[in-house]
């Protein structure tokens, strides 16, 4: 069963515009929030247990409280650089409900004391940018942005910034580099962005879904929000269901919802005659689950962490028995090789190396020791770099190779896929 908290009115076209949005309770909570002391909002968000929806799942209230307590100018940045393969929830949110995000952002900015915020949108998302820009203009006209918002004395400006389509700019320090006009490369931590971020000023970077959810914490209160989801993973979350299911799409469910139910109820189950083989539960960088594990999994941070994978951005990629895991790893490795920023050596060279090994196997030139080499290389890329891209490339390799080793060995021995013949070679020669 879907629990539509954020996505309640997404089916309505009018929800995209200010009038329609206001009809369904829009900007009421902004007025409410502006009458609260900012610290109260931070405390409420902390009490609600809201966790970052971008991937890492860090407590939002905690992140906000890392800001230095002084009058230094500070920035709020909305991370809409949705690049994780399999994730498409932010796009829906920006296209269907731009004002929901804007309202959430103004409330958050008021809470952290920021006078300027940016929405950093992925370069390929052209339509969402248009929608957002139109919505921001509407909000300015209606007095929700600009000087002295709703007579509260709080000033706030908001801008949309289009990225150039780099996956690495979804990492918060990479995003800040890009926003500053530099090459999109993550920065060394410490200092953390909350202390020294955009233009060396304290900066909070939050995901689209996180900021949009803040509005509902103000509306219903922290306790009411906590009723959704589980004890440690409260709230609802949008899951981007894709792959070999009958009804792929975005579904908002309570955290802690069963993965089996998501695939078979919301997703409509497998295609006729097909069997579930594996599920990637949290975007391409999350380790893969076998069908057996997936049936037991629930969609919350703790359960998935226990199973050695992660909730990530909530991109559930369903893989049925018609898919070749070697092929899939080839696609993933191509992606990470292409997207590595090239700053840290293990990631720069490692992603290239992994890509080459997997493609050697795919071209029928693999050696049996290559399978162990994949594991060794991935093991030594893990946790050795500035940002998590290296881990994101290494984790799928480790899980694919350990859980589906037979397919890899078959490919090396026979020079063709166990599942669908020598398809890769046919494609490329």
């Amino acid at each position: 069963m879907e629990t539509k908290l954020l996505s309640e009115f997404y089916h309505l076209d009018e929800f995209r515009y200010l009038d329609g949005y206001k009809k369904h309770g829009g900007y009421v909570n902004l007025a409410k929030a502006l009458n609260m002391p900012p610290q109260q909002i931070i405390d409420d968000v902390k009490a609600s247990g809201l966790r970052g929806r971008g991937g890492a799942g860090f407590s939002t209230g905690m992140k906000w409280s890392f800001l230095p307590k002084n009058n230094e100018p500070r920035y709020l940045v909305c991370n809409a650089d949705e690049g994780e393969p399999g994730t498409f929830k932010d796009r829906l949110m920006m296209e269907r409900a731009p004002h929901q995000l804007i309202e959430g952002m103004i409330i958050s900015a008021f809470a952290v004391g920021s006078k300027k915020s940016y929405i950093y949108v992925r370069g390929e998302y052209y339509f969402p940018v248009e929608v957002l820009e139109q919505a921001i203009q509407e909000a300015y006209k209606a007095g929700y942005l600009g000087k002295n918002i709703l007579g509260s004395g709080f000033d706030h400006d908001m801008d949309v910034y289009r990225g150039a389509g780099a996956y690495i700019c979804g990492e918060e320090t990479g995003l800040i580099s890009s926003l500053e006009g530099q090459k999109g490369q993550p920065k060394l931590k410490p200092p953390f962005p909350a202390v020294k971020g955009y233009l060396q000023k304290p900066t909070i970077v939050n995901n689209v879904e996180t900021l949009a959810a803040v509005k509902y914490i103000i509306r219903d209160g922290a306790a009411a929000y906590k009723k959704f989801g589980t004890e440690k993973s409260p709230g609802t979350k949008l899951f981007s269901l894709s792959g070999n299911v009958r009804k792929p799409g975005n579904y908002e469910v309570n955290l802690g919802y069963s993965l089996n139910d998501l695939i078979n109820n919301e997703g409509g189950g497998m295609k006729p005659g097909r069997k579930l083989k594996a599920v990637i539960p949290g975007g391409s960088s999350a380790p893969v689950l076998t069908a057996e594990e997936a049936m037991k999994a629930t969609l919350d941070y703790e359960c998935l962490a226990q199973m050695g994978t992660m909730l990530g951005s909530g991109a559930v990629i369903v893989i049925d028995d018609s898919q070749c895991m070697v092929d899939m790893l080839g696609v993933l490795m191509h992606f990470y090789h292409h997207e590595s920023c090239g700053q840290c050596t293990p990631c720069r060279e490692g992603t290239g190396w992994l890509n080459k090994i997997v493609h050697s196997i795919l071209e029928g030139k693999g050696r049996l020791q290559d399978i162990d080499l994949l594991v060794k290389v991935a093991d030594n890329m893990k946790g050795r770099t500035i940002c998590a891209l290296s881990d994101a490339a290494a984790l799928p390799v480790l899980s694919f190779v350990t859980k589906f080793r037979d397919e890899f060995e078959f490919y090396v021995r026979e020079g063709r896929s166990k599942v669908r013949g020598n398809f890769y070679a046919q494609m490329h020669h």
Partner: protein, 528 residues
């Protein structure tokens, strides 16, 4: 002042210093490329990983600030194995062209691999192809395949020379160092990028392919290119001098030196020197030993001492000025001594980093000595003296590094108006040989062939030692002064102290020889 323990050794560092600096202090070996003490921290090579007690993940030493009681170690098998792998990541796309690489012999990769390497390559794929022989600018050539993208050169142009010509283009393992189209790496400090490049990616156009580094000896000395007096190493062998590199001195030049200073070696080699004493009168040229020529001149100088003047450049050592000026003043009673300023307009200029307009290493030293003997030679007196023939014989201690003396020819024209020009100098100045008046040229030794002291623009006294001898017959200015006064040379008795800054300090980015692992590399069949 927090204390920490590095591999069991306790060390106290300054507030805010990193683990890397603590490693330097204890001289414990730690692998690293991108860290350079003169640049900001990039933290990208990931080689300096170490265990910190109480921290589950290994941390990089260059970006972790030491806190009180921190216990750091890089001796565990896990860390050693990690370093081996990171080194291997550096090497998988690095070409195996050491035999034709200029850096071989002083290469960071070679050195660190000897100590920390894996010795068991597993890379079986094709290497990434990148640009070779990229012309970055007038001084530097880039080989992108050798580059390990440590970003030292990029940070140097951003932070030290502040010219920001270099950048890293493209992403992932396609990344390459380069300049924006239409721009070139062209600044007065560009060759420092070659020094800090830990591999053979950046090579100096001037030095590349000229000599294998293991055939070169080096000696530390002070650059005589300008009055900053950067501490440098000169590299030479029996064929001559080949290059100059900076040596760290916090008070004088830090880690750097300018490109101009790197050319000084060219004036030390035989082909740009006077090697024989030359006596030339009425078109008849006679070559003789420098000492004999100087001795011969003594008689004339003594007899005509009222009409003798001396012109000194700031290119010689304090000790030499002392002996020359004292000989002239005390023994010969010659007080017409003048200071030759090479470029009056830009003499006091300074670019804020190292380059000074005063192109003499020891102007301060000369002025001190002149002041000591209360000599206030005004250049106008020299000019009028030459014109009204009250100065008939002129002793000139000329420049060693003639390239920085812009108006050398104009001065020679002035000096040529005297009856007899006694030219003491090392650099071969061709126009002297076509003068019509009587001229005696006494070849001198250059600064690398003698010991002495330079006082730089900030008044810092720097002693240096002899590196080698190129022209054996040439005299030092002291010897010339003794001979010109009519005395004979005796063997030197006083030994100079070893200069303080030359103390044998371990170069930071080099691995100590004794720590090197024995070469255990065994080529395994099928290991590639």
């Amino acid at each position: 002042m927090p204390k920490c323990t590095i591999n069991g050794k306790e060390v106290e560092v300054k507030e805010g210093q990193t683990i890397m600096e603590a490693f330097y202090k204890t001289e414990e070996p730690i692998a690293h490329y991108c860290y350079h003490p003169g640049l900001s921290v990039a933290g990208v090579c990931r080689l300096c990983i170490c265990d910190i007690e109480g921290n589950p993940r290994p941390q990089i030493a260059c970006n972790t600030v030491v806190t009180e009681g921190m216990k750091v170690s890089n001796k565990s098998e896990k860390i050693k194995d990690g370093v081996k792998w990171v080194l291997d990541f550096h090497l998988i796309n690095h070409p195996l062209d050491c035999p034709i690489c200029d850096q071989a012999g002083e290469c960071g990769l070679q050195e660190q691999y000897m100590e920390f390497g894996k010795y068991d390559p597993e890379m079986a794929e094709h290497k990434v192809k990148k640009h070779k022989v990229v012309d970055l600018g007038p001084t530097v050539v880039l080989d992108s395949e050798r580059c390990i993208l440590c970003s030292r050169c990029v940070r140097f142009t951003d932070e030290v020379s502040k010219t920001s010509e270099l950048g890293i283009f493209n992403r992932g393992d396609r990344s390459e160092i380069g300049t924006v189209e239409g721009k070139s790496l062209d600044n007065k400090y560009s060759l420092n990028t070659v020094d800090i490049c830990p591999v053979g990616a950046l090579t100096s156009k001037d030095f590349r392919f000229r000599q294998r580094v293991w055939y070169l000896k080096d000696s530390e000395t002070v650059c005589n290119g300008c009055s900053t007096g950067c501490n440098v190493k000169v590299y030479f062998n029996k064929e001559g001098f080949f290059r100059v590199k900076p040596v760290y001195n916090e008070k004088v030049n830090g880690h750097w030196m300018c490109d101009e200073g790197r050319d000084i070696y060219k004036f030390l080699n035989k082909e740009s020197r006077f090697t024989k004493g030359i006596a030339r009168e009425k078109g008849v040229q006679q070559e003789m030993a420098p000492g004999a020529l100087a001795k011969e001149l003594a008689q004339e100088i003594k007899s005509k001492k009222d009409h003798v003047a001396a012109v000194l450049t700031g290119q010689y050592t304090v000790e030499e000025y002392e002996s020359l000026v004292s000989t002239l003043v005390k023994e010969l009673q010659i007080t017409k001594i003048f200071h030759w300023v090479n470029n009056k307009e830009s003499f006091n200029s300074f670019d804020g980093l190292l380059l000074r307009g005063d192109k003499n290493p020891n102007t301060k030293g000369l002025l001190n000595i002149l002041e000591k003997y209360q000599i206030k030679g005004v250049w106008g007196d020299l000019e009028s003296g030459i014109k009204n023939k009250s100065i008939k014989t002129l002793i000139v201690a000329g420049p060693e590094n003639k390239a920085v003396f812009d108006n050398l020819e104009n001065h020679i024209k002035l000096f040529s108006q005297v009856d007899h020009l006694v030219w003491l100098g090392a650099a071969k100045v061709d126009s002297l040989l076509s003068l019509t008046n009587k001229i005696s040229i006494v070849p001198l030794k250059t600064f690398v062939e003698k010991e002495g002291t330079f006082i730089n623009a900030n008044g810092i006294e720097q002693k240096f030692k002899r590196a080698t001898t190129v022209v054996h017959e040439a005299l030092t200015l002291t010897e010339a002064a003794i001979l010109l006064s009519g005395k004979n040379l005796t063997l030197p008795t006083a030994q100079m102290d070893r200069p303080a800054f030359l103390e044998n300090k371990r170069r930071h980015d080099q691995v100590m020889l004794e720590n090197r692992k024995k070469n255990e590399f065994v080529f395994k069949r099928g290991s590639l």
